[in-house]
Structure formats: C-alpha cells, structure tokens
Subunit: 252 residues, 2 copies
DNA sequence: CCGTCCCGTTCTCAAAGTGAGAACGGGACG
DNA sequence: CGTCCCGTTCTCACTTTGAGAACGGGACGG
C-alpha cells in the first residue's frame, strides 16, 4: 500500500492528527473531531482517552483541549537548542533597542520555527512556536540562503513556493536570485510577502558547520516601520545581533 | 485483559513513552531507547520515523531529540489558559519588584505545572513547563487548599505524598491541617519540602467557580531569602498579586 | 412533563497494523 | 582487514485498532 515511505506507525499519526485538529479548532468534542478527520467516533474517543490520561489533552466537560504536557516537552526542546541558549539575551536586547517585534527563527525540517517572538505592539501575524514557510519570510530566506545546497533543493521541491500574499515569491529563479544577494549582504527582506501590510528584515546566524542554524529578524506593520526606518536604522542592529550570536556559537 | 481502565490506544502510549525517554536522556539512539523501554529495536525505529516525519522528533545523525512541534502545541496550550493570559504581566511585575524567582502554577490533572517561571539568579530546581507534585510545593499547597474536596481526595489517594526531601510533608493529617491554615491566610509556605536549601511563598488564585485555578509563588535559596525577608517583605506582594489576578479573572 | 435530538460512551468483531526477532549493511575502531 | 556496534529492513504471528451499531443521559423544545 504505502510503497513510498519508510515504515511508519499509523496509530500515532492519528493521535497527533487529533491533537492538531484540537489546536486548529481551539478545542472540540468527539463527534466534531470524528467528522472533521473522518475517523469513527469510537476511535476518536479512544485516542482522546489515552491522550488525556497522559496529560497531552485537557478535558473541560465535553470539549477537549490541547494539554500542558506539550509545554513541558516544547520548552525543553527549545532550551536545548544551542542557538536559543546563546542567542536569547541578544534577541531580547535587540527588541528593546528597536522597539519593534523581534524574532529568532530556527530551521526545522524544511520549515522555519519562531523559537522566540517578542511582540512590538500592534497586531502581529506571528505566533511564537509557529512553523512557517521559509520562502515567504525574511528570516526564512536568510536561512535558505545559507542552507546546504542539496538540502535547499530538496526542501524547495518538496514544499514548493506556496503563495501567502500577492507579493510572495512564487518563482524559483527569482528566489534564487534573491538568495544570492542575501548571501552577499547577510541581509534578507520581506515586504508583505508573508502577510499583507507586514514587513521584515532578517540576518542569518550561520552555525559552526557553515550551514545556517537560524536567523534574527525584526518586523512590523507598514505604518509602524517605514521603508526608511527599516533599511537605515534597524538593519545594522539586526546584522550585528546575528553576527554576535554567530561568534558566540563558534567559540564554544 | 484490561478490565480496569477505559479503552485506550497502546501504540500512542508507546510513542509518547519514547519521546519522554528522549527528554530524560537528553537525546538517544534506537538501541538505547529499545533497551531502556524494553521494546524491540524495529518498533522503536518505526515510531521514531513516524514522529520525525511529523516534526515531533528531531534527528542529528544517529541520535534523536525531542522536536520543536511540541513547542508549537505547548505555547498554544499555555496562551489559551485564561489564568496565564490575564496573569502573565502581573507575575512579571512581581518578579521585578521582588528580585527573586517567581512562578505561576496551574492545576493539571492532579499535578501542578509551572506555566511561567522567571529565574531570580542563582541555581534553581524549577523548570518552566515542568509537572510537579502539589503537596511538596508552596504553590501546589495553595492550589490543593482550594481544590474541590472530592477532587483533592482522589488526587491525594491516587498520587500519594512522595517524599522529595527530609522535610516533605508525607503525613496526610498534617497536610490537611496545613491546608486549613492556607485557606485562612491565603498563603502557603514551602521550607525545603521540595528541594533542599530552597524555600517558597505562594498565594492561590481562586477561579470564578470557587475552585483554584492557579497559584503565584516567589522562591529562592535559603541564603538569598532569609526567613524574615520571606515572611515580611515578599509575602504581601505575593498575596496582592494573586488577588489582583483573581479579580481580573472574575470581571471577564 | 414528555418526546426528540445530539453527543459521549460502550460493545463486538473482523481487518489491519504493530511489534518481535533475525538478518542485512555500513561505519568506526583497533 | 576483521570485528563490533548500531541503524535499517524484512517477514510473520498476534494483538490491537477502528468501524458500526446500540446504549444512556442531558438539553432543548413542544
């Protein structure tokens, strides 16, 4: 049947699909989940019972929610990332210095994960912990630019260049051209490519192995950050923050 | 066979046991996990492959780590807690005012979870996200004191009063006596009952339903916080912070 | 106050997937 | 070059999962 992939465990996948549906729905009941995921009620119920007993699902009456056991594992996973450990303070300082939303993104299996996001006031399309496309964000492009070429190719092939806004880069050649300039300048921009009215500057943190570990970025709505602010004031700080994290990573 | 519990999913439990082992071991390989958990190598391998593909496990060469997908779900779960949303700023201010380690604990299935922990300098036995026994921590006792009586009884029965240090309360009657005084004073103490050389003050945040939602606590090593500081200076701030969160929760 | 509807829970059974064990393959080390 | 160790693959028997139908209880409305 599944002639393609390596051996897998179907049941676990189902359980995690259920949890992810709970997140998307902000909590749900057995029947709702069963319909949405096209699984029998009895199966959903069995999974939820198990997950509940283990603390991965919380129950309030007849609706289930994502449980706090994920917090334990998630914070643990983050704390163990070398980039996060060495970079967290620098990112915090950058946020204070600029007054804008500030992020630390790491590469994770073809996507980018915002392991730290400090809001800058105003609305904000970014959630800490979220997985996002690399090609549509400044930090993501910074990461892509320094990613191992084979890896980059396979990622772009597998995931493609989905359009998030009108301005998202959906053309492979144009992306490659931009990545070349990112490599030269150690600087990437996002001008409403991820979310309308939202822009971003990023600089890569290249790990000791020469492959990008992460990227630092500062972002804001168009009116909070004019093009000039973005290019002149903030840019330098972003680059120097990224570079200093990179240096600290090297000397460990 | 399983005449006791409700229907469950064994495979999911196995997967999550593997992830928890990865946390305890700070990463591990297939064989190591198989030995530790007493599962065949092929099974462990299959589970890891699945978890990896879904982003719940990260792979570095031949060792596997807890993955960042947990961070996404965990932070989401936390952000959706009313107590956290309304209390996070107040706790942050409390930390600044006292200069000591400060925590926000919520009740979760018989245990306490530190949803926020701001370190206060110096060593610290608390990890943000961690699940701990209620009876051995100040915040836990604050929560227990106001918990629904039936729930409290069943929790204490199920979990017992495991000894963490010499000073941990392991006697049920003594615990009940202390909880009565916690209810009167809205204040709980922990004097090295959780970790040696570590003490703590806490005050409960009673939810709109009259059942404890959470507790605020301030903690520190014995030398950083003398008994006097603890009782006189910090205590009032802890109580008023908890109370103000409680009020804000009521008016929503 | 009773009937209806909806949802969570339980039960049973067949089909399917999991997991043990053995064998393979490749890299590290001596 | 041989040995050892570890991850990966394969196969098969057995356990477990999951569908479907039936149960039970609470909410709502007539």
């Amino acid at each position: 049947m599944n002639a393609d992939g390596p051996p897998q465990v179907r049941t676990t996948t189902t359980s995690l699909r259920i949890v992810e549906a709970l997140r998307e729905l902000d909590g749900a009941g057995v029947t709702e989940l069963a319909n949405r995921l096209d699984i029998s009620k009895s199966a959903v119920h069995k999974h939820l019972t198990t997950l509940h007993r283990l603390g991965y699902v919380r129950r309030e009456g007849n609706t289930y929610q994502v449980g706090l056991q994920f917090l334990h594992l998630g914070l643990y996973a983050r704390d163990r990332l070398p980039v996060f450990e060495t970079g967290r303070d620098a990112v915090e300082r950058l946020a204070e210095a600029t007054g804008h939303a500030t992020n630390l993104m790491v590469y994770d299996g073809g996507y980018g994960v915002y392991v730290r996001h400090i809001p800058g006031g105003g609305d904000d399309p970014i959630r800490e912990g979220e997985r996002v496309y690399l090609h549509a964000t400044a930090a993501g492009k910074a990461i892509l630019a320094f990613l191992d070429e084979g890896e980059r190719r396979s990622v772009l092939e597998r995931i493609g260049l989905p359009e998030m806004t009108e301005k998202t880069i959906t053309d492979r050649a144009r992306l490659e051209r931009e990545l070349r300039s990112v490599r030269d300048q150690r600087l990437a921009f996002d001008r409403e490519e991820y979310a309308e009215g939202y822009q971003c500057v990023a600089s890569p943190v290249v790990g000791p192995d020469g492959v990008t570990a992460a990227a630092v970025s500062v972002s804001g709505s168009m009116d909070r950050m004019t093009g000039k602010t973005l290019e002149e004031d903030v840019t330098g700080l972003v680059v120097s923050t990224a570079k200093s994290i990179e240096n600290e990573l090297l000397s460990r």
